[in-house]
């Protein structure tokens, strides 16, 4: 009834080509920037973090619906599940960051009279940082595997206990992720601007990646439908996905404004330095980030109709996907490079990682039926509607 996905050679070839192009461009970019280690490592960090975060965001999507006892999402659940399996691969990229730590993080070599940075040494030191990075990757990998494993188990079993067990593990996931999502964002991103701090930062980064994950789900759903799969997905599902993209884009903007407004208002140099640097040296990109990631989905998806049409959804999702890439860029570049740089290296490395990411996704997606038919709420997914 539900056509199983086949990871055809055609797709493989396409993705390998994508990866090769990416790799070539990356190599060219790296060679061009051999004396700009900062830039190379910033790229590694950006793409490593962004796609890992998307994978975790997708896992979060699955988990939060398990806990919230949602029914509608079962029809598309296998997409985020497959996305989440990228975590260990993304984890490898993050381990690479440990190699380039020195070029990214100023705190690895604080000035001797920098009392503030020296005060942070118990937390921000290469050893502890590496341990934390490894722990995040290990814990996340374990969690996404666990959730995926149980979902797949449901294909061959209708035992309601499995359902309960999944819920329990989802609880574990949410607790661990609630902590690590913030701390990992502090570690990997916030500590780039090593004097700066913002309590909201972890949540801001989480929501940013969650929105990107929703966008990625929509994009992949579109791709799969184009390929003739996931035909069962109806307008109601798209409407719901659209609502997610719409709502969480607004929520992201809300957090962005909250953080910016509070810092703008108090105008304390130790905090404003972050935005001053971005406004002065990344002016266009900085404001583009807000406009793209808020206004675009807001305007496109406000109407009921657009949420229910795959093409509109796709446009919004693609904008948001690249928009949040920019969000990451604005977070990472000023503290590492200090100025905006965009070229072959950026295009290449993003293409490469995106290729790997998609390859991982399709491989995983092909491994299981496209829907969890034994899910107790599966039927609900086809008998509900959104209020007009």
């Amino acid at each position: 009834m539900y056509k199983s996905f086949e990871f055809t050679q055609k797709i493989k070839t396409f993705l390998i080509a994508l990866m090769v192009i990416g790799a070539v461009l990356t190599v060219v970019g790296v060679v061009m920037n051999l004396d700009h280690g900062h830039r190379i490592w910033a790229n590694v960090l950006l793409n490593g973090f962004y796609f890992t975060a998307i994978a975790m965001g997708a896992a979060f999507f699955v988990v939060v619906h398990i806990l919230g006892e949602g029914g509608w999402q079962t029809s598309i659940q296998r997409i985020p599940e497959a996305i989440s399996q990228y975590v260990p691969i993304g984890g490898v990229t993050m381990l690479l960051v440990l190699v380039g730590m020195h070029d990214i993080y100023h705190w690895t070599h604080p000035d001797p009279d920098d009392t503030i940075l020296l005060g942070k040494v118990p937390f921000l030191n290469p050893v502890f940082f590496s341990i934390r990075t490894i722990v995040y990757i290990a814990v996340w990998t374990f969690l996404v595997f666990k959730i995926r494993k149980m979902s797949l188990a449901s294909d061959s079993s209708t035992d309601i206990k499995l359902f309960t067990k999944t819920r329990n593990w989802a609880g574990v996931f949410i607790v661990l992720f609630a902590i690590t999502s913030s701390t990992s964002a502090w570690d990997w991103i916030m500590s780039i601007d090593s004097h700066w701090f913002s309590t909201l930062f972890g949540w801001y980064m989480f929501v940013s990646s969650f929105v990107a994950a929703v966008a990625m789900i929509i994009i992949l759903l579109f791709v799969l439908r184009k390929m003739g799969y996931m035909e069962h997905v109806n307008e109601e599902h798209m409407h719901d996905l659209g609502k997610y993209l719409f709502g969480f884009s607004i929520f992201w903007a809300y957090l962005w404004v909250s953080q910016y407004l509070l810092i703008w208002y108090s105008n304390i140099p130790e905090e404003t330095i972050y935005f001053v640097q971005r406004q002065e040296d990344f002016g266009m990109i900085f404001w583009a980030n807000v406009i793209i990631n808020f206004l675009a989905p807001f305007l496109i998806l406000m109407a009921r109709g657009t949420k229910r049409k795959m093409n509109w959804l796709l446009i919004a999702a693609v904008i948001v996907f690249f928009g949040h890439w920019i969000d990451m860029y604005v977070a990472i570049w000023p503290g590492t490079l200090g100025h905006a740089d965009f070229g072959i290296l950026e295009i290449g490395m993003t293409t490469l990682v995106l290729g790997v990411f998609l390859f991982s996704f399709f491989r995983q997606f092909a491994k299981a039926p496209v829907v969890p038919e034994n899910h107790p709420y599966f039927k609900e997914s086809f008998d509900y509607d959104n209020i007009r």
Binding site: S198, L255, E270
Partner: protein, 455 residues
């Protein structure tokens, strides 16, 4: 609409549509019991005491409160934030849960919304009476005047004026629009007479027409869509009252979402506290069931844990910041003269709700009742900790001082309880406590046993 059999029924007992009407109409008929009169009297007494305390405040001055040159806000604003927080549950339930299609909201949204309105009324009182010159309070509105003096749109307190009044207005609209069909039901149950006339007037001429229903649903949805960010904005703006300052312990970027989360947390706790009593008192056990309890308790765990993470985040970032003032502020919270308030907050808000991970506890009315009260206390102390412990020791140690409330402040707080419960007692007597039409709409799919009326 298909509902998986795995899901537990929301409404227990054997129910037909008319049974629902009767069950919910029942508390409004007959003579109210002694308990109702006793409760109302107590509430009115508290209200009168509060009014007297307010009179003393206005007549003699804010000096009758325990504030001083260092601590400009104490119980007053603590209570304000606390009540506003409580006022977040209703609209959260009816708006956000509507958007998330959580059917269990139907049994509790009506009374939760009523509580929201009453709580916001209580809350709105405090920014007024905490003014040194209440009679000039109208200065806060940007009204045209010959001197061309407007207001300061930079001020979070001014934002509050707009946020709270908008919130109250929209909540009342939302609540009342939801009430219209049910008032129509009551109207139609009543025998002709003055009471019927009044309900007829209040029902706005509701007929139950399919066209009206369609518009009603459409309006409700959009209103929910508007109310959802509005709920967020209200406590966000309340958090701005603190977070826009430079005071350590106040100025922190996590405040907006953390306050919202805390507000929902405390609001749910208050709804639970009251609903657990109310369902018993007016025999609504079939409508407010363990399923509801469990769902609400899950939100309590979620929001409580978010709040807990925010506490820890604040604490950690205070250390991480390397700013002496920040670091001191948090050390002082935990180990300073108000350590007890901090640990009450921590215990009640972070630790007790974690008990809800245990299924038995989150499905127990007794346990939930106790924990919900803990949460109410904890959330009051959270605001107290934020306001008082941040202010009492800020930048210049020369100005550090201590704060103890006076009877006047306590009296006003008691008075707001009086106001809240007076309104609540009147509400449960004169309005349907449960959204009749909404329950009926989910009855087929969510009742333990639905009785179809025979032909």
């Amino acid at each position: 609409m298909y509902v998986s059999p795995v899901r537990e029924p929301l409404i227990s007992g054997e129910k037909s549509y008319t049974k629902v009407t009767e069950d919910i109409y029942a508390p409004m008929t007959g003579k109210p019991g002694k308990a109702w009169y006793a409760g109302l009297t107590l509430a009115l007494l508290a209200l009168m005491f509060g009014m007297f305390s307010i009179f003393v405040t206005v007549w003699d001055g804010i000096g009758t409160w325990g504030l001083d040159r260092t601590i400009g806000w104490g119980w007053g604003i603590t209570n304000f934030v606390w009540w506003v927080g409580i006022g977040h549950a209703g609209t959260f339930i009816s708006a956000i849960l509507l958007l998330f299609r959580q059917k269990w909201r139907t049994s509790i949204n009506r009374s939760a919304e009523a509580m929201t309105i009453f709580a916001v009324m209580c809350a709105g009182l405090f920014p007024l009476i905490h003014m040194g010159r209440l009679p000039l309070g109208f200065f806060i509105f940007p009204y045209p005047n010959t001197r061309d003096v407007w207001v300061n749109f930079n001020s979070p307190l001014l934002w509050d004026v707009f946020a709270i009044s908008t919130y109250l207005t929209v909540s009342v609209l939302f609540w009342y629009m939801g009430l219209i069909p049910d008032i129509g039901t009551i109207r139609d149950k009543l025998v002709p007479g003055i009471k019927k006339k009044i309900y007829g007037f209040l029902s706005f001429g509701w007929t139950g027409s399919a066209r009206h229903w369609a518009r009603h649903e459409s309006m409700s949805l959009i209103l929910a869509g508007l109310a959802a960010p509005l709920v967020l904005s209200v406590h966000t703006i309340v958090s701005f009252d603190f977070a826009t300052s430079v005071i350590p312990g106040w100025h922190t970027t996590i405040f907006p979402p953390y306050f919202v989360s805390g507000a929902v947390f405390s609001g749910f706790a208050m709804v639970l506290t009251l609903m657990i009593i109310t369902r018993k008192a007016i025999n609504l056990e079939d409508y407010i069931t363990k399923t509801h309890l469990e769902s609400m308790n899950k939100i309590i765990i979620a929001t409580g844990s978010i709040v807990g993470i925010a506490y820890i985040t604040e604490l950690f970032i205070a250390w991480y910041s390397g700013v002496v003032y920040e670091q001191y502020a948090f050390v002082n919270r935990a180990f300073g003269p108000y350590w007890w308030a901090y640990w009450i907050m921590m215990t009640c808000n972070v630790i007790t709700p974690q008990l809800f991970w245990i299924k038995k506890i989150r499905r127990s009315f007794a346990a939930t009742f106790v924990i919900s009260i803990f949460v109410n206390i904890g959330m009051w102390f959270e605001r107290f900790v934020i306001i008082v412990t941040s202010l009492h020791r800020d930048f210049l140690p020369s100005s550090w001082s201590m704060y103890t409330p006076t009877w006047v402040e306590v009296g006003i707080y008691v008075g707001t309880f009086g106001l809240f419960f007076t309104l609540f007692f009147l509400f449960i007597r004169f309005f349907p406590v449960i959204a009749i039409a909404e329950v009926k709409s989910v009855l087929k799919t969510s009742a333990e046993k639905f009785i179809k009326k025979g032909k």
